[in-house]
Symmetry: C2
Subunit: 208 residues, 2 copies
């Protein structure tokens, strides 16, 4: 298997994290939108016509874009994808929650704070995104107040999918001290055997 | 099983569509955000703390929010969820695409055109959303130029998930005549045995 991506993106880092937790042999092909790598003719024709990373290439050469789909494929025979059908639906529930109700607020805020020049427009956009990020963190806090993990009392790809951008929340302008259960859960993820930090993942996947 | 929702929302209609296509026995509980029904104490405590529909209640009383997760659960033993693991990942790929790269542009545009008062702010927001909707339709058009269905040459919940808001694209301000393959695919979905239109779904699920 081969993964196309850059661990500068939380969506790509999710795939690196799951391969490390599971010990999945794979090749990492560094591709980033920053230098136009996701928009080359070859990438668009052969890897992902939507011009985005990450993409997982299976051992038969089929391309699987979208981090959630790739996480499913990487974890499908592992303990990170539970056995029960209701539990599986709950894993997907939190993965869809992450992509629809979390990432568009927290990841985008993070990106604006890191990359956009400070300006009234950036400040207005950050203020527009803030309530959505707060709602996402409140939903997580409430769920984690009676659960150690998102589904079935054990780590799954739901946790993996929620980890990267939640761990970035402070640098995206969200104070995690208001969400003590979220903070504790981040620590539980970081203590999993095989866990790799985003910084280490970037170091391991970026060409020298 | 019970479904909480209103078919005024495309996300709820997806669940009605899949139950009709599969002949799944279920009770429909009309709940809509429009009259505050998704924010009552009972709904928040018992059904979905995130205050959103649709929610699928399993026969054991477990609540599954998020349309994509509920579609998976409803279709998991049917022909709408393919057998091969790569095909399953591709179904999820298009379902995540729909929630991240399609719905936030086309469904939100539709909602703005239907519900918001015409104003410079609404016009500016519609203009901001337009390119994302075009990109989504172009991605679909390209895929459908060599595929009758999104995955594995047969209808799956990927098609069901993409159908509602794509069929609304014209009233959201997107001219489907520019996407002939998308237009033909909509017709293929509408000719499936058991297909129910959104209008009929609304009529069937709204209390008299």
């Amino acid at each position: 298997m081969r993964i196309y991506g850059d661990c500068l993106s939380g969506n790509c880092y999710k795939l690196k994290l799951v391969t490390e937790l599971l010990g999945t042999p794979h090749a990492w092909k560094f591709v980033t939108w920053i230098d136009g790598g996701t928009k080359t003719d070859d990438f668009l024709a052969r890897v992902n016509p939507a011009g985005k990373v990450p993409v997982l290439e299976t051992s038969k050469g089929e391309m699987i874009p979208e981090s959630g789909a790739a996480l499913y494929y990487l974890a499908r025979d592992s303990h990170l994808w539970p056995v029960g059908e209701t539990d599986r639906a709950q894993v997907l529930r939190w993965m869809f929650f992450e992509q629809y109700s979390h990432e568009p607020f927290i990841a985008v805020s993070h990106s604006l704070k890191k990359r956009a020049a400070p300006s009234p427009e950036t400040a207005a956009k950050l203020a527009e995104l803030h309530p959505g990020g707060v709602r996402a963190l409140e939903t997580m806090e409430q769920h984690l107040s009676s659960n150690d993990w998102f589904v079935a009392g054990a780590p799954t790809i739901a946790d993996i999918s929620l980890y990267p951008y939640t761990s970035w929340a402070p640098s995206a302008g969200f104070d995690l001290s208001a969400y003590p259960e979220v903070h504790k859960w981040l620590g539980r993820v970081e203590r999993l055997l095989g866990f790799v930090s985003m910084e280490d993942a970037i170091a391991q996947t970026t060409p020298a």
